[in-house]
């Protein structure tokens, strides 16, 4: 993974956790869009997949954080939604987080491309 994408991954997870931890759910969309915009990825499609993973990781970390302990609410919620188990529910949660980050990250990236044009390789390295 190029350094810039790795950086985007880390930034999304850290800022994502902070945003959903202290703000409301859509702050994460804003964070993803802002990261997508500022990172100036040469290949926005790669950024999409990176953000998908980062968003999924963010929600999975959050979900796991609250699943630690002796409560069994995730299993009960999984039953309500017909998802079978808490693990499947965590997977669905991760998909929600992943798609949120990916779509808005890509939106930010393409917005940057439309505004400033596609970055050249040299300029990418300079920024990185």
């Amino acid at each position: 993974m190029p350094r810039k994408l790795f950086f985007a991954f880390l930034l999304t997870v850290v800022l994502g956790l902070l945003s959903i931890g202290f703000g409301t759910w859509w702050w994460f969309l804003v964070v993803a869009a802002v990261i997508g915009f500022t990172i100036r990825a040469r290949h926005p499609s790669l950024l999409f997949w990176t953000m998908l993973l980062a968003g999924a990781a963010t929600y999975a970390i959050g979900g796991l954080w609250f699943s630690i302990g002796d409560g069994d609410l995730p299993s009960r919620i999984a039953q309500i939604f017909g998802l079978g188990s808490a693990a499947v529910l965590l997977l669905v949660t991760s998909i929600v987080g992943g798609l949120s980050a990916a779509l808005f990250g890509a939106l930010g990236a393409y917005l940057r491309v439309v505004i400033q044009g596609k970055p050249k390789k040299l300029s990418v390295e300079t920024i990185a």
């Binding site: 959903i20 931890g21 409301t24 759910w25 859509w26 994460f28 969309l29 926005p44 929600y59 959050g62 979900g63 954080w65 609250f66 699943s67 302990g69 002796d70 409560g71 069994d72 609410l73 995730p74 009960r76 919620i77 039953q79 309500i80 939604f81 669905v92 949660t93 929600v96 987080g97 798609l99 949120s100 779509l103 808005f104 890509a106 939106l107 393409y110 917005l111 491309v113 439309v114 596609k118």
Partner: protein
């Protein structure tokens, strides 16, 4: 899509992102149900994951509404022991803590009484709301609230309590809402004394709404007076009344007694005789079966401790979270432990350093139906009780329904009460409800229990009990000094015999008013050295006044026999009594069935099942098949014996005779014409229908066994504890509970012993307790249902009042200090 057209991709992404945002913001419909907004719901820090927290209760210790610091010690079951310096701070903290654990329950219960469930739950609950609005639960609560305001001690308690609840609500942000609100995408609303009154109204609806006037009227119209009297006698000769026979009773109202004597000579035949049969009543619901309770107290000479023992297990709808919340309260000399209804301050059932008390429902019929006689074609005028005509009043009820337009319901109000039911095929037919709870709103119900919390002796008990001006409850009492007492506590209407048994019509004889509280049945330290109530009839026929109601017949006989059979009862035997699954009904009926069944007419399967019953011990044990065979046999037998009672559009809803009457007829009159099956030419006897019933039952049971090889009573009874929103994921079902309706451990589906308590009034007062649930109302918390297994298996938890000096050194408790 071309690489040189990034703006096109941007547009596509913008559209996708907009769609995603709206999807996440609004939720989707899955299988006809709306999901909560997915964005916040799946956000781990905001949605359901956050509710998996097990220590939500020790986060915020700042309570600016307090006047002094309050110490709270939680035990290992999450029972709070609250130590305050004033009553005000005590009830404030109690409100705050109960809201922390049970906020959604507060909301649901008060909404149920008020008729505003649909605002939260949607169209599923519109019928419930419409009925409760017609009854006027909200108006009644408002009247009680007004009455409280003129009663300083009660009002201070409910107001402080409401302030505490609201202090908790004010601290909540949406991410802290209970999971049910997140699922419903709703928010909690502020608490008030009026909403506490609604919780009381809801309990009155549960306990005192039972009546069979409509069914009795239809049945008498179908069968005629003589047959009705034959099949529905007032008293079961075998039953044991609450107040020991031959107890002295106060009787001051000689005029009423004389009127009753006259009525017994024939006047009663006029009652209800002109009422027509209601055919189809819009929105009518049968009173739920199986609500009941046990309480008993045994005096020192017959207990292993030499001091009184007191037991109570109220049988109510079993819910998760439980209808009870356990607490210990200390303030200014008050020290009390027990359970209360979430939403109500104080302790409802429990014990203090000197006394213990418990409650069962009396079961008097305090609800009458009046058939309205309209005097003009447009139904705007009707005949009043004194024969004049009057205009009806109208009350417009607007029922807000989540996701739908508001529904308006016009309630017609008469001097008899609101018209609750109408016949959709006959616009001239309406039944007005005359319910004691509505007619005589009382604020003293709370004061009764707050005074019991502080009671030290019989005088305190009677003082508290006399304040109870509410449909009656059997309040049992015992104290360290060695006294036991039981009083039918509450308002008892003055009645002629059979008055109000049928739908009333204008012009019928009736008596207005209530008995003086000194005339209520009660017993203190009886010669038999114990007192027991199990919703059976209150008195023997030496009681001078007439009353009617729905009474239990078998548990009273069982508990009386068990107590009399013990030389010295101990806490352990009391617990065994509460868990007792022996059926007196089965012990009465089965020997008759076994004697009269024609074995030669039975199939091999039926004979096998018959053999099973011959070995049976009359106990409804959860892992036994014999109780299933018996239950099916009894069910089939009832259907054949009472085949004349088939409900049709012509007959309307009918009442069938009680089981004890069936047993009596089978035993004493096996050739009774009632045993003839109408649709056959043959004249059947008891023996014929007993045999036919077993053949039917054996086939039913065989089908059940074919589906599940180890099918047993637990499968048949399907005992469970249900979440308020009926969500299986938040409920417990198929619990292996022994017992049935009519056994002391009266488990009937989702109805059963909601709180088991045995109090030992020795020098150090203590109790054994358990209830089917857990202290926390949050399904993500381990204390949500941690006592269900204990309750199923009869494991109790020992509790004692803890002095503040000793509890602070006890490492088993978690200490919190709430500060202003």
């Amino acid at each position: 899509m071309s690489n040189n057209r990034p703006w096109l991709k941007l547009i596509v992404l913008a559209v996708l992102c907009t769609g995603w945002f709206f999807l996440m913001d609004r939720g989707i419909t899955v299988g006809g149900s709306d999901t909560p907004p997915l964005g916040s719901f799946f956000n781990p820090f905001e949605g359901f994951y956050r509710n998996n927290s097990s220590d939500y209760w020790n986060k915020n210790l700042d309570l600016p509404g307090l006047r002094a610091p309050v110490d709270v010690y939680y035990d290992e079951r999450l029972v709070p022991h609250i130590y305050a310096t004033s009553d005000r701070d005590l009830y404030y903290t109690q409100g705050y803590i109960q809201a922390q654990h049970r906020l959604f329950q507060f909301d649901i219960v008060s909404r149920a009484a008020e008729g505003t469930l649909s605002e939260l739950l949607g169209e599923l609950t519109v019928d419930i709301d419409r009925e409760r609005r017609r009854i006027g639960g909200g108006e009644l609560a408002a009247k009680i609230d007004t009455l409280w305001q003129s009663n300083p001690s009660a009002f201070q308690a409910v107001l402080s309590y409401a302030d505490g609840v609201n202090a908790y609500i004010d601290q909540l942000s949406p991410k802290d809402y209970p999971i049910e609100y997140k699922l419903l995408n709703a928010a909690p609303s502020k608490w008030s004394p009026r909403r506490t009154a609604l919780v009381a109204v809801n309990m009155a609806y549960t306990l005192n709404y039972a009546n069979s006037d409509i069914q009795s009227t239809n049945t008498r119209n179908l069968l005629g007076e003589r047959s009705f009297e034959f099949l529905f006698p007032d008293r079961d000769p075998n039953e044991v009344p609450v107040i020991p026979p031959n107890s002295p009773f106060q009787s001051r109202d000689t005029a009423l007694i004389n009127a009753s004597e006259k009525a017994k000579l024939g006047l009663s035949e006029l009652l209800g005789s002109r009422s027509s049969s209601p055919k189809g009543l819009e929105g009518y619901k049968e009173t739920p079966e199986g609500i009941g309770s046990n309480n008993w107290a045994i005096a020192g000479p017959f207990t292993s401790t030499g001091k009184p023992l007191l037991a109570n297990d109220p049988h109510l709808g079993l819910t998760l979270p439980s209808i009870w919340f356990e607490s210990e309260l200390h303030a200014g000399g008050l020290a009390v432990h027990g359970v209360s209804l979430p939403g109500v301050p104080g302790i409802t059932i429990g014990f203090n350093e000197a006394s213990a008390w418990g409650v069962t429902n009396v079961g008097f019929d305090v609800l009458d139906w009046h058939e309205i006689e309209y005097t003009n074609p447009s139904n705007t005028r009707y005949r009043t009780a004194n024969g004049r005509t009057a205009e009806v009043d109208y009350r417009i009820e607007k029922i807000k329904v989540r996701g739908m337009e508001t529904i308006s319901d016009t309630v017609v109000v008469t001097e008899f009460g609101p018209i609750v039911y109408t016949d959709p095929e006959d616009y001239r037919y309406g039944l007005a409800m005359d319910w004691l709870t509505l007619k005589r709103p009382s604020a003293e119900i709370l004061e009764t229990f707050l005074e019991l919390n502080k009671s030290k002796d019989i005088r305190d008990f009677l003082g508290a009990s006399y304040k109870m001006a509410w449909p009656a409850q059997n309040i049992i009492y015992a104290n360290k000094k060695g006294s036991i007492a039981l009083r039918v506590s509450g308002t008892i209407p003055r009645n002629l015999p059979d008055e109000g048994k049928f739908i009333k019509k204008v012009g019928e004889p009736e008596v207005i008013g209530y008995l003086d509280p000194t005339e209520n049945p009660f017993a203190v330290n009886p010669r038999q050295s114990f007192l027991a109530s199990t919703n059976q009839i209150s008195t023997d026929d030496t009681y001078p006044y007439d009353y009617r109601g729905t009474f239990e017949h078998y548990r009273s006989r069982r508990i009386n026999a068990l107590i009399r059979g013990q030389r010295k009862s101990s806490i352990e035997t009391m617990k065994q009594f509460q868990m007792d699954s022996y059926s007196v009904f089965a012990a009465d009926l089965l020997p008759i069935l076994l004697k009269d069944v024609k074995r030669d007419d039975l199939s091999l399967t039926a004979r096998g099942q018959l053999d099973l019953l011959q070995e049976w011990n009359f106990r409804f044990e959860h892992d036994a098949l014999a109780p299933v065979v018996f239950e099916e046999w009894a069910k089939a037998l009832r259907a054949l014996a009472w085949d004349e009672f088939e409900m049709t559009r012509q007959t309307g809803r009918l009442e069938t005779p009680e089981d004890w009457r069936l047993v009596q007829l089978l035993k004493n009159d096996p050739l009774s014409p009632w045993f003839d099956i109408k649709k056959t030419d043959k004249r059947e006897s008891a023996s014929d229908i007993i045999t036919a019933a077993l053949i039917t039952a054996s086939e039913e049971v065989q089908d059940l066994v074919n589906e599940k090889e180890d099918y047993a009573w637990a499968d048949y009874n399907n005992a469970g504890v249900q979440h308020y929103m009926r969500l299986p994921a938040f409920s417990r079902s198929n619990l292996p509970v022994s017992g049935r309706k009519g056994t002391l451990n009266a488990q009937n589906g989702n109805i059963g012993p909601s709180w088991r308590m045995v109090v030992d009034l020795s020098n150090k007062v203590g109790a054994e307790v358990v209830y089917p649930g857990g202290q926390s109302g949050h399904p993500g918390n381990p204390h949500y249902d941690d006592m269900v297994s204990d309750w199923v298996e009869g494991r109790y938890h020992h509790v004692e009042l803890q002095a503040s000096e000793t509890i602070k050194d006890n490492k088993q408790f978690t200490h919190l200090t709430f500060t202003p």
